[in-house]
């Protein structure tokens, strides 16, 4: 082969190998570090995996925030209107965390289906609801409406 052609072939091969390694590595790392979002209903129906970092969220249930008396342990319920998920966290909660407001927790589910959170995010602006939470609430609302309709129809029959 012509030496210049040979050099070019080597370069092309190098690029192909390097970029496939890069793409493979990137896909693998994305898979490892992509945290999926689950609604409380999904978690309680067993759709969310245990011992894998996930995100879950909804509205914080009124009166559900329980603080430990001697540490920063805290636990609370989040709801999508259908189901409640217990979240347990140790540390300082964000400023806009409050009962009846949206919150998203990142962490792993334990065997009692409690989310052991490593991070809790609240909305950053009064008029802003995280799209995931809004979505979850809507889904739950729609399901409720369907149920109601069904019950109504069943009653009618």
């Amino acid at each position: 082969m012509h030496p210049i052609r040979k050099q070019r072939l080597q370069i092309v091969l190098l690029i192909v190998v390097a970029s496939s390694v890069a793409v493979g590595l990137m896909a693998y790392m994305l898979g490892q570090n992509a945290n999926y979002f689950f609604t409380p209903s999904q978690v309680l129906q067993g759709e969310a995996p245990e011992n894998v970092t996930i995100r879950a969220g909804g509205m914080v249930v009124e009166g559900s925030i329980a603080r430990s008396t001697d540490s920063l342990e805290v636990s609370f319920l989040v709801t999508d209107g259908m189901a409640n998920l217990r979240v347990s966290y140790s540390g300082i909660l964000p400023d806009l965390f409050a009962e009846g407001e949206a919150a998203i927790a990142t962490g792993q589910l334990d065997q009692q289906s409690v989310l052991q959170a490593t991070q809790v995010l609240a909305k950053h602006d009064e008029n802003y609801t995280p799209p995931e939470v809004a979505d979850a609430m809507n889904k739950a609302y729609e399901m409720k409406q369907k149920e109601k309709q069904q019950q109504y129809q069943e009653g009618y029959e």
């Binding site: 990137m26 790392m29 945290n35 979002f37 920063l72 300082i92 602006d125 802003y128 979505d135």
Partner: protein
């Protein structure tokens, strides 16, 4: 009345921009000199009218005109005056107007300072900038009019500026960042004009370099300010979160950095021509993408204040036209621009190639990590967020490679470098770095926690870079510091920027290694010890600010028997919206920050408190500023100011 004037001025500006995008361009093809010259006056006119529009909006804020929807949503009579002005760009509409104003400003600057360029090229550049301006003016007028009235239901009081944004950092951070984003429109317009004309030579490269540098300087300073703001204002003590919005600003920065380096090789040696053009297109496209990500509200993030699908669709179409159109043009014309030039494996060209490969790899992986959740959402693969481990896994080794390569590159020469010469330069700085990396962690770290590998590696690469810079400087000036003034600004700027990067790396790595954070419950009289500092919690008192009330804690910090600082972190509640905000208290110094913030009140007068000792964190922003300063010095190189050179070159060529 003022608002109508502003709205009207904006519409006139749109008309002028429309003419600017067409007349000089058509003129350049038909050879009508008068048409081409019109580009200048149109640029100035457009700048004037957008400035009038901007001043009108600012006046509406100053006069508390809550009949304007935008003002009523982002201001309040109690808001301190300086924030009334910065509130102009606190949300979507106003920040777009600021964007348009800055674009018009850059365009006017190009019109003013581009006299030495051939008229045809100049006309096309101004036309491309005018076309971008049309896009933004239309976007403003059609979907995001800041002058929209709330009539007849005019509120008596505004709903206030988001307290997070009531801060000096937010007065300067967005304008700086936008100056950078929009500044990349200039090299973009250059690239497009060159592609249209099919003319691309080293004069082009030399002429565009100071513009690339200036845009890049603003972006560097903007990102640094943003990081600093997030650090003290969000109350978590972090300086970078791999938040999509941060990535949105880092991506054009990486593309711009690659562009700055590749254009230097294009200017000096005529290599990487089409690659340079492509990078110019990328840098601006990524700036637009950043605007889209931040302003369309498709992200779940700190900055996603707006959520309006109409705007998102407009932005997406605008992006498609700009990126698609310019890449198409590049596909048609770009390859013909390439000139065959040879260089050997150890040349400076090769080093710059390594730089570009590493920067573009970082950029690609950030782009994929940032867009992946959006793509997955669209394809209904689930709602995903990509965590920091992904970004760190790639970004850290790539950056380490960059710093290591930088050290060698400084000794390399254009075209070819004797490999023996290059290898002979390695032992001394390597020895300095190894010794420093081995010994310094024993001095810097806690004696009981042992040797920190992270700190060691950080010192190894940053000392390596600093040592190579010092050795190269010594070879150039010896011990006679007066000779520093004789070195070119390009060289001095480069060395300063590279030193800044070494200091930044030092700050990042040492902070990662020695950072101590503790969140705990403290009652008045409690104390805690972190990294040798003792924190005494004295309790919390209510205080009143201009537009908020707050609980102010007092924490006394001592080290051994020595007093260090009294810190007063606050938990504020703003009067207007009732929003609660943490105001951290910081005792800053170059060697370490002491960072204290209040969490929430707990039973019996005790509070959740976050106590942090953050060694060398200031080096991150100091480094960032030095990097920016280096770029600024390089932009003032005398070569770029010789106006006649270009014309002479032209004559010599013909």
């Amino acid at each position: 009345m003022i608002a109508e004037l502003g709205h009207f001025a904006l519409i006139i500006a749109l008309g002028l921009a429309l003419m600017q995008s067409l007349v000089p361009m058509v003129g350049s093809f038909k050879g009508y000199n008068a048409w081409m010259r019109l580009g200048h006056s149109l640029s100035y006119g457009q700048f004037l009218f957008i400035a009038i529009s901007f001043v009108c909006l600012a006046a509406a804020f100053w006069l508390d005109d809550f009949s304007l929807k935008y003002v009523s949503q982002n201001s309040n009579t109690q808001l301190p005056n300086q924030y009334k002005i910065s509130a102009v760009w606190a949300a979507h509409e106003g920040s777009l107007l600021l964007w348009a104003l800055i674009l018009a400003g850059w365009t006017a600057a190009v019109a003013r300072f581009s006299r030495p360029l051939p008229l045809e090229l100049r006309a096309r550049i101004l036309s491309v900038l005018g076309a971008i301006s049309v896009g933004f003016a239309l976007f403003l007028i059609l979907t995001s009019n800041p002058f929209e009235r709330l009539l007849p239901m005019t509120p008596m009081q505004g709903s206030d500026l988001n307290p997070l944004l009531q801060d000096i950092g937010l007065i300067i951070h967005p304008p700086m960042l936008y100056m950078g984003y929009v500044g990349f429109a200039v090299p973009f317009a250059f690239a497009i004009a060159a592609l249209i004309g099919g003319q691309f030579d080293s004069a082009w490269a030399r002429w565009s370099r100071p513009w690339i540098n200036m845009a890049w300087v603003f972006l560097t300073i903007g990102i640094t300010l943003g990081s600093w703001w997030a650090y003290y204002e969000l109350g978590w003590g972090g300086w970078w979160f791999w938040d999509p919005v941060e990535n949105a600003s880092l991506m054009p920065w990486l593309a711009g950095t690659a562009l700055m380096h590749s254009v230097s090789a294009t200017e000096k040696r005529g290599v990487f021509r089409s690659w340079t053009l492509l990078l110019a297109i990328f840098a601006f496209s990524l700036s637009l993408l950043g605007t889209f990500l931040v302003r369309s509200g498709i992200l779940t993030s700190v900055h996603a204040f707006a959520a309006d699908p109409e705007r998102g669709v407009f932005m997406l179409m605008f992006l498609a036209v700009v990126i698609g159109g310019s890449l198409m043009l590049f596909a048609l014309r770009g390859p013909a621009m390439q000139k065959v030039a040879s260089y050997s494996g150890w040349s400076r060209e090769a080093m710059l190639l390594i730089n570009n490969v590493l920067l573009v790899s970082s950029l690609t992986m950030i782009l994929i990590g940032t867009l992946y959740p959006l793509i997955a959402d669209v394809l209904e693969l689930g709602k995903i967020s990509v965590g920091p481990p992904y970004f760190n896994f790639f970004f850290v080794p790539l950056s380490v490679g960059l710093v290591v390569a930088m050290g060698i590159a400084v000794f390399s020469k254009w075209k070819a470098t004797d490999s023996k010469f290059l290898l002979s330069k390695i032992p001394l700085p390597l020895a300095i770095a190894v010794v420093g990396a081995f010994l310094l962690p024993f001095v810097l770290g806690d004696t009981d926690s042992g040797y920190s590998v992270t700190a060691g590696l950080t010192l190894l690469i940053s000392l390596w870079l600093l040592a190579t810079i010092a050795i190269d400087l010594k070879a150039k000036i010896g011990t006679d510091f007066a000779r520093l003034a004789k070195l070119s600004h390009s060289y001095l700027g480069m060395q300063l920027a590279h030193s800044g990067l070494a200091i930044l790396v030092l700050g990042v790595g040492l902070n990662a290694a020695y950072d101590e954070i503790r969140e705990l419950r403290m009652a008045p009289g409690d104390s805690a010890t972190i990294s040798g500092y003792q924190f005494d919690f004295k309790g919390v008192n209510p205080v009143a600010g201009p537009n908020f009330t707050a609980y102010r804690g007092q924490i006394t910090v001592t080290r051994g028997s020595k007093w260090v600082a009294n810190l007063f972190p606050e938990k504020r509640q703003y009067n207007a919206g009732g929003q609660v905000m943490t105001e951290a208290a910081i005792d800053p110094s170059l060697m370490r920050d002491i960072y204290v913030s209040l969490g929430e009140p707990l039973a019996e007068g005790s509070w959740a408190v976050s106590l942090q000792v953050k060694p060398f964190i200031r080096c991150i922003w100091l480094g960032g500023i030095l990097v920016g300063l280096g770029g600024l010095i390089a932009a003032t190189d005398r070569r770029y100011r010789r106006r006649k050179t270009l014309l002479e070159n032209k004559r010599a060529e013909s």
